[in-house]
Amino acid sequence: MDRKQFLKAGLLATVTAAAMAGTGRAFAEDGSGKESGNEGFDEIADVIVVGSGLAATVAAVTAAEAGAKTLVLEKMDQLGGTSRVSGLNCAVVGSDEQAAEGILDDPEWMYEDMRKVAEDYGNPDLARVVAEGSHDLYRFLTERGATFKQLKSGGGHSAKRLLWAGGGRYLLDALVSHAQSTLADTLEMRTRCKVDDLVFRDGRAIGVIARENYSFDYGAPETDDLENQTGSAKRIGARRGIVFATGGYARDKELLRSESAVLAQADTMTNPGATSGVLRMLAKHGAQTVNLSLFRLSYPIPTEDVCWGMLVNPDGKRFVNELGSRNDLGIIILRQMRDFDGKPPLLVYDSKGIELFHDKQRLEMSLSGRNFKNGTMYRFDTVEELADHFGYDRQTLVDAVSRYNEMFDNGVDEDFGKDMSALQGAAIKQPPFYGMNLIPNNNYTPGGVRIDTSARILDSNGSPIEGLYAAGEVTGGVHGAQRLTGCSAPDCGVFGMVAGSTVAGATPVEP
């Protein structure tokens, strides 16, 4: 967090708290659910879906198409969550695009690919639902107007199966416009409506306590859940159930810090609203949370293209074999950042290394400043100029480059055991030179609420909490230790479909 922003948030919070003392609030902060029998709902729907990313939108459309009067509640100013700003590569087995290229694939292979990197974390049954459901999701999306621009291969996938629509927004736009034209009477999507708590009767969730006209504090996302007092309370009942598809918690540094201190050093490019408010609220009502210590790190440039360069810490010293896996490399970088007061390392390439980038599109984004925050790459004629730009002592950086080149020429990395023969001739010799800071992004949180294969939220006894369902990144245990690239979208979509049809088919109660 920007230090100035932090000071501002702290100051305002103090002042606001003082001004607020004794005024009381309409919404239930303790939310014990003990208001049972005194519901007094302002509004009643069949199904409430909380969130508006891919999982939420698919769940809502599914429920509404099954005839349930469905209400989507999004706390942010605009719909779409993190899905809207994601690439949303989507692993699908059996797409028309695969058929057109004659690619053989099998849901079992996708399941095995997912479990191979899971390191035995997570619940294999959930991964199986995703792999076996990806084709149904493909039909669901394409029959409602989504089109895919490209079929790609992806690291860890045994078949070419990643579909790309041009960005997450294109999948969401298709579904929302489909809903507007065919589901106008059954589906309503509402922004600036924050769900704070649940209303229970006889152990079943029958509604939510929400705030309408909520104004998310984009200036201080990390403290929004605890400090933001905006909006007016409203009680909304749900006859059939409530689906939580509220995304991950990568913006919640406090929670990350409590799970793994170094993770809080990572950047995140998720929706500013990716906090843990809903997760904590569900846990308070008995939902079990699983795998919260797991993480998934990524970079503005592909992990596979880090290796062509030399990575040095703020002292100008190498500290890692640049040929590492995303999480291993990321954790080592985060530890260095912790030891250097948060200062990121510097990644240096020469023009030969730049040529070897396998993803030129993301390279171009970095060179033009359009990539992620802190993902901009700069070009220099000399190592000295590069050192000046990034605030390094010239001689220190020149020495580091010389030593790296010497070991490259000898074919042996004496310091970190990097396989110099795998670098296809890329050292740090050919001008121009390129430099960027390399900060791991924590853009996906594998942990979350425990669900069963019907998307029902489970308590710590493994029993469903009646009336509560969840889908997408808010859930935990689908992917395990490492999520394969392109597997979040099918998770969101498939479990969105499962949650939508399960909740629409639930026995209704009158709230």
């Binding site: 100035k4 501002k8 605009q78 104004s215 007092q229 359009r370």
Partner: protein, 138 residues
């Protein structure tokens, strides 16, 4: 930013009016003069050139009881249209234009970034080095 935060904090201490979005939230103040003093407009284009009052943007019968975030329609009643606003910032570049962007087209609320009574924020900068292509939001 620090200056704006300090000014706001002082204002909140004095009056602590109830407001949404563009200002910290607090207990209601008694009359509109106090409210105005507590929530000065931070853009001189609004306060001096246009001589705007509370009612220029807020149509609540009694704004001392709290107000809602101002709607796009209200902003555009002076700023003409979303297209017109986008046209004025078109020079930033296709896809990068915050008023007609790759991720959101024209689906953003004005008040997500533009705060009339406090420091504005730049949503693009949540994820991008947007200072490479644009200035601070007014």
């Amino acid at each position: 930013m620090r200056r704006a935060a300090t000014a706001l904090a002082a204002a909140a201490l004095v009056a602590g009016a109830a407001c949404l979005g563009c200002a910290p939230h607090g207990a209601a103040v008694s009359d509109e003069d106090a409210l105005r003093a507590a929530y000065p407009l931070n853009n001189p284009m609004h306060s001096e050139n246009a001589a705007m009052t509370c009612a220029s943007c807020h149509d609540e019968e009694d704004p001392t009881q709290g107000v809602q975030a101002v709607s796009n329609d209200k902003c555009l009643s002076c700023h003409e249209s979303y297209d017109k606003v986008a046209e004025r910032t078109a020079g930033i570049g296709e896809d990068l234009n915050p008023h007609n962007s790759f991720h959101y087209d024209q689906q953003l609320d004005c008040t997500t970034c533009h705060k009339a009574h406090s420091e504005s924020v730049n949503l693009c900068m949540s994820c991008h080095d947007a200072d490479q292509w644009m200035n601070d939001a007014p």
